[in-house]
């Protein structure tokens, strides 16, 4: 099949066996590729009731349909498994080069089940699949492990976990080429299987339906992107370029564990300040000519020697404003440590902010912690990351995530434990962005901005088919979030970065797919595929025990208004949240508990 690798590799780590099956036409036409195919394989093989750390849990890795092809920003590879953080099906998507190598080795997906007795390195060299001993790399930082594996085995692309994944930190990530599949703790699933890393390289051809036309189309998109403001801003300042605007013009930049919606010291973490000083060049995901990454280098001071690819908008919030931390160098070091230990910066930052509030409220003893850990103490942030990364002392508890920390500590702290379905929220204060709030609730992996991507609508008021969106109104959000979720799913199936959503929208893909795989889709066909996958995920989550109460937002969001700034007084009440959720279920054709109707499932071919 044009554009595809052609096979799916099933690995059983328990007995070291593997088999290859064909990537079928049916799978490609119903699920495209990437996350869609991964979700289908995953749900076919996993009982929703099992524990995420059960060896019967499966992790599926699948490059998007356009990933590995010369389409600007088509860089993404999806990791799908049952999340240790949320207990739901979760996808985590990265821009590292693993997907392109998978396709070059003829693989559209790798499904890994079982548990290796000893630390294992899965090596895939075209058709050669090997289980190597990873004991020498166990305990290594992600960068060191990748480097050592390359030195020992050759020019492979390596996706690895760090010490945090090994010790099952519930929000551990998987790293490849300094890019992370960050969210939902899939690094801990690797760790639970004793799987340290995957090393992969391929040399096979991927055929293209019309190669010359694909180059022509790619040139056109490249030109469009280069002319856009987004290109200029992203390449200069990275994804944090709108940080000031979110603070000053929208007042929805969560600060100090969501006590505030504006970070007063934001100028110090704004990329307009730090990019010219610390960023020495642009860094990009695979096949991305838009390069929002920055090579950030600290040359002197207490954090000298810090080098990382960042700092992303979400991290500026999580390790910055969320902790009241205005020190960009401490923030950079904390970010680097997160990458090295292999933990998600967003969840880590939210945990740190939560701990700071617990310390301030006297619910955690600072002496037991061993250092000052209150809002605004910059040094505390990298120290906390190390504590969590090593799971030292209280770090053992902190590595469990906000939900489980709050349950252990109790005494009312559940009210300001910021999470939905157990996952810590990203940098959008949904009290002033109600559609995004609904997106947090309905996302299959808990508080997540990317399943619906609704922040684009709430912040600017218009996007794609939508205009005049009022961020403070709950009206019409149910249907809009549903449509956006289906739309965003198409991006995850194709492996295209969501930062390109204003370029390709959905119509741009029709021509690209026609050219790359020789198949013509209509816009509605693609949206229907998105809807099918979202329903499939919902069926799994229902089986895993997700009920109406699982969609609840943290009490701080529903009861404490934003205290100052442009969004002063904004709050997302329980009534509004319930109303939006009901609207959403109706738009989806689900009943009030989220069960899809028979007709809906039949319409989607899932019945």
């Amino acid at each position: 099949m044009e554009g595809y690798g052609g096979s799916i590799l099933y690995i059983d780590l328990t007995d070291g066996s593997f088999k290859k099956l064909e990537m079928t036409k049916e799978l490609s036409s119903k699920y495209l590729g990437g996350e869609g195919v991964a979700v289908k394989i995953f749900t076919d093989h996993v009982n929703p009731k099992i524990d995420p750390f059960d060896q019967r849990n499966v992790i599926v890795i699948a490059p998007g349909l356009l990933t590995g092809l010369p389409v600007p920003t088509a860089s993404k590879t999806a990791f799908v498994s049952k999340s240790p953080l949320t207990g739901t099906i979760a996808e985590s998507i990265m821009g590292g080069g693993i997907g392109a190598q998978m396709k070059a080795a003829g693989l559209d997906a790798i499904a890994i089940i079982g548990k290796s007795k000893n630390p294992a390195l899965l090596s895939i060299d075209d058709d050669l699949v090997r289980f190597e001993n990873a004991s020498p790399y166990w305990g290594m930082f992600t960068r060191d492990a990748a480097k050592a594996i390359k030195e020992d085995y050759g020019d492979f692309v390596v996706a690895t976990i760090g010490p945090a994944g090994e010790s099952l930190v519930r929000y551990a990530c998987i790293e490849c080429e300094d890019r992370q599949a960050g969210r939902a703790g899939l690094g801990a699933v690797f760790g639970s299987k004793n799987l340290k890393a995957i090393a992969i390289r391929g040399s096979k051809d991927i055929t293209i339906y019309d190669p010359d036309r694909l180059i022509h189309l790619a040139l056109g998109w490249q030109e469009t992107m280069e002319k856009s403001n987004a290109f200029i801003e992203d390449t200069k300042y990275g994804s944090g370029e709108f940080l000031e605007w979110v603070n000053a013009e929208r007042g929805v930049f969560p600060t100090k564990n969501w006590q505030e919606g504006v970070f007063n010291e934001r100028k110090k973490i704004d990329p307009y300040y730090w990019a010219p000083k610390y960023a020495i060049k642009n860094k990009a995901c695979f096949a991305c000519t838009k390069a929002c990454g920055k090579l950030f280098v600290v040359r002197d001071g207490p954090y000298a020697g810090t080098v990382l690819d960042g700092i992303e908008y979400e991290t500026l919030y999580a390790l910055g404003s969320q902790c009241g931390n205005p020190d960009i160098e401490a923030l950079a070091r904390a970010n680097e440590l997160c990458d090295q230990y292999g933990i998600d910066t967003i969840s880590t930052g939210v945990v740190i902010g939560f701990v700071m509030e617990l310390v301030e409220k006297g619910l955690i003893d600072e002496e037991e912690l061993g250092f000052d850990c209150r809002f605004g103490i910059a040094e505390a942030v990298p120290k906390m990351v190390e504590l969590i990364g090593r799971r030292d002392g209280l770090g053992a508890l902190f590595g469990e995530g906000v939900l489980r920390i709050s349950k252990t500590i109790g005494r009312g702290c559940e009210d300001y434990a910021m999470h939905v379905k157990g996952m810590e929220p990203p940098a959008y204060d949904v009290r002033g962005m109600k559609g995004m709030g609904l997106g947090f609730m309905t996302s299959s992996r808990g508080a997540c901005h990317l399943r619906s991507g609704f922040y684009a609508l709430d912040l600017t008021g218009r996007f794609w088919r939508f205009s005049g969106v009022d961020r403070l109104s709950p009206i019409g959000k149910g249907e809009a979030v549903k449509l956006m979720e289906d739309f965003m799913m198409v991006y995850d199936c194709l492996g295209v970065c969501k930062f390109s959503r204003s370029f390709f929208k959905i119509e741009g893909f029709i021509e690209l797919l026609d050219t790359a795989i020789g198949k013509s889709f209509k816009e509605d066909d693609l949206l229907l595929i998105g809807e099918r996958i979202n329903n499939l995920k919902q069926l799994f989550n229902l089986g895993a025990g997700v009920g109406r109460e699982s969609y609840r937002l943290p009490k701080r969001i529903t009861h404490e208004p934003i205290p100052a700034g442009v969004s002063k007084g904004a709050v997302l009440t329980v009534e509004e949240a319930e109303k939006m959720l009901s609207d959403y279920f109706i738009a989806r054709g689900w009943d009030e508990n989220g069960f899809p109707s028979k007709e809906k499932l039949a319409q989607l071919g899932l019945g």
């Binding site: 790619a218 390449t235 000519t289």
Partner: protein
Amino acid sequence: MFSDFYFKIVCSSRTLEKFECYCKLLVNRSVVINLINRKSRSQVIILLNHGNFRYGSYMPLCLVPYPENCTGCRFCELVCALSHDKVVNLKKARLRIVRKDIISDIPVVCAQCIDQEKECCASVCPEKAISFDGTALVVEEEKCTGCGLCEDACAYGVIRVEGTAKKCDLCGGDPLCVKFCPFGAIRYEEMKKENFQKVLSLLEG
């Protein structure tokens, strides 16, 4: 966008002497004129001056790597293979991006070793199958026996034998890798030996 485009004039059929003349044109693609005739260089310059064009150096243009600008996205490799071999395959690209660690992404391109101070693909070829076509050192497929000596001789590792030798032909004077690099990590300009030296030392280091 307003940018430099070039005219290429190849004169004298015997030695294939070549020089460029830069001019600023508000057109969206580069223009290549190959004049293979016996006019002397001075005559061509007069001709160009008459046309209000400013002429540049006599060095042929080549790809010049700027490792400090490379983001490591590898798009250049993808389009290179697709345009030449009509398939997607990073291994078939006529250039390579070497990622050593987080700091260095090294664009390794063909230097079109025209001045041939040291061994290169063209100088070691026993069949004299690699020669300068006025734009780049290209392989004459019918002469090439696929012996692989060129592959061993290339200091940059960017020539590969698959049946016959495959190497960078500068896309006939309009290199795609350059078009897809908005960061200027690979540029199409006059030879800068120090940049190639830098690439070699980064590869070793």
